[in-house]
């Protein structure tokens, strides 16, 4: 594999032989944190309601519900994004795209350029705020009909798209 663009920084192997991956932009952690924050707020609200009802009905000490809920939300906001970011990596070589993600259930996908049907570059509102984009490649397979790689810099995503597209065009000449 001769990669034209060297990875921006060296990465240590995760486990097994899942090395050689490039991390996505560090800002993506913020995107994940903010997304989790919405969920965390909902969780806190629900916990607050349960706690209120509980305090009316029984003599439960304050914090019986909110304590654990707050702890979970804290994990969600502080620990998880960094871990998920650390376990999300990609590698683009001359003829294939590799995307690996997940920790407990880890998936390491290879999509050969020759099997890509079309390519999307998506930018959600949050992505735009951080100048990030998601590269989505579509294949004809019923399993993995779409493979997405979030958290790329917008320019990088566009560059990857052009590279894949150029490959698709070249190989059929």
């Amino acid at each position: 594999m001769t990669d034209a663009t060297p990875p921006p920084f060296a990465v240590e192997p995760l486990w097994g032989t899942s090395d050689g991956l490039t991390r996505v932009e560090a800002d993506y952690r913020w995107v994940m944190t903010i997304r989790s924050a919405f969920f965390g707020l909902a969780l806190l609200a629900a916990g607050g309601i349960v706690e209120y009802i509980l305090s009316q009905e029984t003599a439960a000490p304050p914090g019986t519900v909110m304590g654990p809920v707050a702890l979970i939300v804290l994990c969600l906001l502080v620990l998880l994004p960094a871990r998920r970011w650390h376990r999300l990596g990609y590698d683009i070589s001359d003829d294939r795209l590799r995307v690996a993600r997940g920790y407990l259930w880890r998936t390491d996908t290879i999509v050969p350029f020759g099997r890509i049907q079309h390519i999307d570059v998506d930018q959600g509102l949050l992505d735009r705020a951080f100048d990030l984009a998601t590269l989505v490649v579509h294949t004809a397979g019923t399993h993995n009909s779409t493979v997405s790689l979030p958290g790329l810099g917008e320019a990088r995503a566009a560059e990857m798209r052009e590279r894949i597209r150029a490959h698709i065009t070249r190989e059929t000449l």
């Binding site: 486990w15 097994g16 032989t17 003829d95 294939r96 407990l104 259930w105 880890r106 998936t107 390491d108 996908t109 290879i110 999509v111 050969p112 350029f113 020759g114 099997r115 890509i116 049907q117 079309h118 390519i119 999307d120 570059v121 998506d122 930018q123 959600g124 509102l125 992505d127 735009r128 579509h138 294949t139 004809a140 397979g141 019923t142 399993h143 993995n144 009909s145 779409t146 493979v147 917008e154 320019a155 566009a158 560059e159 798209r161 052009e162 597209r165 150029a166 698709i168 065009t169 190989e171 059929t172």
Partner: protein, 529 residues
């Protein structure tokens, strides 16, 4: 990489009467016809009707507001459709079609010409009234979300379709459309029979299709109409008395032997229903089964009441599936299915091309589809046993502890059945492992799975779309991985996979498959050979 993401060129105003196709061809982003806003709005009106009953429920007070609310709703919807239209642009470039859309979230899609399967024009009623048409671009992707330009003026749509077809075929002038219309699939010029089933074979196939589904269906229907039926239908005493003239008190009095005989009779009856329903289903579906070779590939005709006539182009066949079971295998019978790229329906499907056949009958059909079944048993490898058994052994242990407690605390007999189940679970898992084998021979992957429903998948490595290494926590414990392959057609929930491979073997196998994929240009996989 000069022509990426943000194009400085502004979308052209729609009112320009010039040839839109020609402009789009110059790479200038185009908007769709402005009347699309109207068409989109009218098409969405039925959804808005749901609001009206909701408002009416509000009572008489709500009525005066309706005259105000409805126009406001329509105005909002119009504005929404207009915004969507304003932000939707497309352009035809040298190598791809680029579609940009989205108001807040931007979506930019690139569809390379090489990937376009078909360009169609669809005219829905509202669009027809306005003289508009949608251009639908299909790539044969796994899901039905390709690209749709809705709507353009009909002449523009036609010009654009021709332009895309020309570009796709690398033509810069005008090409005769006939060349693009595709082969005549039902051309019966050179038909040769590959496989037929006579009535004896048909009945035999029905016998193997034993199923208790019918009973389940009847049960489900009864459940549905439970409230409509009188209560006594649910009382077995009523039926015993009505049909057999038997009183429950009598059953109690006749003793254990008679009860066992009655139980056996019931089981036999269920078996008979299973056999009959299997035969009926098979005869209805496969009567007059006939598979022929036609120039484009395979032609299958079958059916008793609903006749179907399907042409399955050879180049769309992605993989072969040989299905059998312990009993069928004993008598040398197998079923052959082809996993094929979806053609008419978006959902991919497996086509049965020989419901019940011997190996000698299957081989020529496989050969016709350029598939082989030549791997000898010595070439197959098994995977690691431990990941198959791990969870089931834990479950069995838990059951055993429970059974022992029952045995000690309640009654010595109470635990026995649970012990039996606890022993049975790991046995089933072991059988699954025992029948899970794979081989990569001659550029083709062979994967055998299942012991009751035995399934041998024959996948040419070059038909692989994606390859995952997937690690579950159990895999991590044993240092194994599953190789999951994305293949066009087939089931999305049960993809082709090889479980519990030692990690290094899995990586090696994936590399060998990927080497086959990337070395051969296979992008034009759907084109006739």
């Amino acid at each position: 990489m000069s022509d990426i993401a943000t194009e400085p060129v502004r979308p052209q105003p729609w009112a320009d009467a010039k040839d839109i196709a020609a402009q789009a061809a110059e790479g200038v982003p185009q908007r769709t016809d402005p009347r699309s806003v109207v068409a989109g709005l009218v098409a969405s009106l039925p959804q808005m009707l749901y609001v009206i009953p909701a408002l009416l429920v509000g009572g008489d007070q709500a009525l005066p507001y309706l005259t105000f609310v409805i126009p406001v709703l329509i105005a909002f919807a119009s504005f929404g459709h207009w915004l969507h239209w304003w932000h939707f642009t497309y352009c035809i470039r040298a190598e791809d079609i680029r579609v940009e859309q989205g108001i807040f979230s931007r979506k930019s899609r690139s569809v390379p010409f090489e990937r376009i399967q078909d360009v169609g024009i669809e005219r829905k009623p509202v669009a027809r009234l306005l003289g508009l048409a949608a251009v639908k671009i299909e790539t044969g992707g796994g899901k039905g979300e390709d690209a749709e330009l809705s709507y353009l003026k009909l002449p523009d749509a036609e010009a654009l379709r021709d332009l895309i077809r020309d570009r796709k075929h690398g033509v810069v002038g005008t090409a005769p459309a006939a060349a693009l219309a595709g082969e005549d699939l039902t051309d019966s010029g050179a038909e040769a029979s590959l496989f037929t089933m006579d009535n004896r074979r048909l009945l035999l196939a029905g016998l193997f299709n034993f199923s208790l589904i019918l009973i389940g269906v009847i049960g489900a229907l009864l459940q549905q109409f439970q409230n409509l039926l009188p209560d006594y239908v649910w009382d077995p005493r009523f039926w015993l008395a009505e049909l057999g003239g038997i009183d429950v008190a009598m059953i109690r009095s006749i003793g254990l032997v008679a009860q066992i005989v009655a139980g056996l009779a019931l089981v036999l009856m269920l078996l008979a229903i299973g056999v009959i329903s299997g035969i009926v289903r098979t005869v209805l579906r496969d009567y007059g089964f006939r598979l022929d070779r036609v120039p484009a590939g395979f032609r299958r005709r079958r059916g008793l009441l609903t006749l179907t006539d399907v042409v399955l182009p050879k180049h769309r066949v992605q993989a072969g599936l040989i299905l059998t079971g312990p009993i069928r295998r004993h008598f040398g019978w197998r079923e052959l299915k082809f996993q094929s790229l979806a053609q008419d329906s978006k959902a991919g499907s497996d086509h049965s091309v020989a419901p019940l056949a011997s190996s000698a009958e299957i081989d020529p059909i496989l050969a016709e589809a350029a598939l082989q079944n030549s791997a000898v048993p010595a070439q197959y490898s098994r995977t690691r046993m431990a990941p198959f058994l791990f969870l089931w052994c834990i479950l069995a242990m838990v059951l055993c502890i429970g059974a022992t407690m029952l045995w000690l605390l309640v009654h010595p007999l109470a635990g026995t059945a649970i012990y039996a189940i606890a022993g049975f679970l790991p046995l089933l898992a072991w059988l699954r492992w025992r029948h899970h084998r794979y081989a990569l021979v001659g550029g083709q992957l062979y994967v055998h799975a299942g012991w009751w429903r035995q399934r041998l998948s024959l996948l040419p490595a070059i038909r692989t779309q994606t390859a995952d290494l997937s690690y579950s926590p159990i895999d991590r414990l044993f240092g194994t991985a599953s190789l999951v392959l994305g293949v066009a057609g087939g089931s999305a929930s049960f993809p082709l996979q090889i479980r519990a491979l030692p990690e290094l073997d899995a990586i090696d196998l994936r590399e060998r498959i990927m080497a086959a994929v990337t070395s051969i240009d296979f992008s034009d996989m759907h084109a006739p050979a």
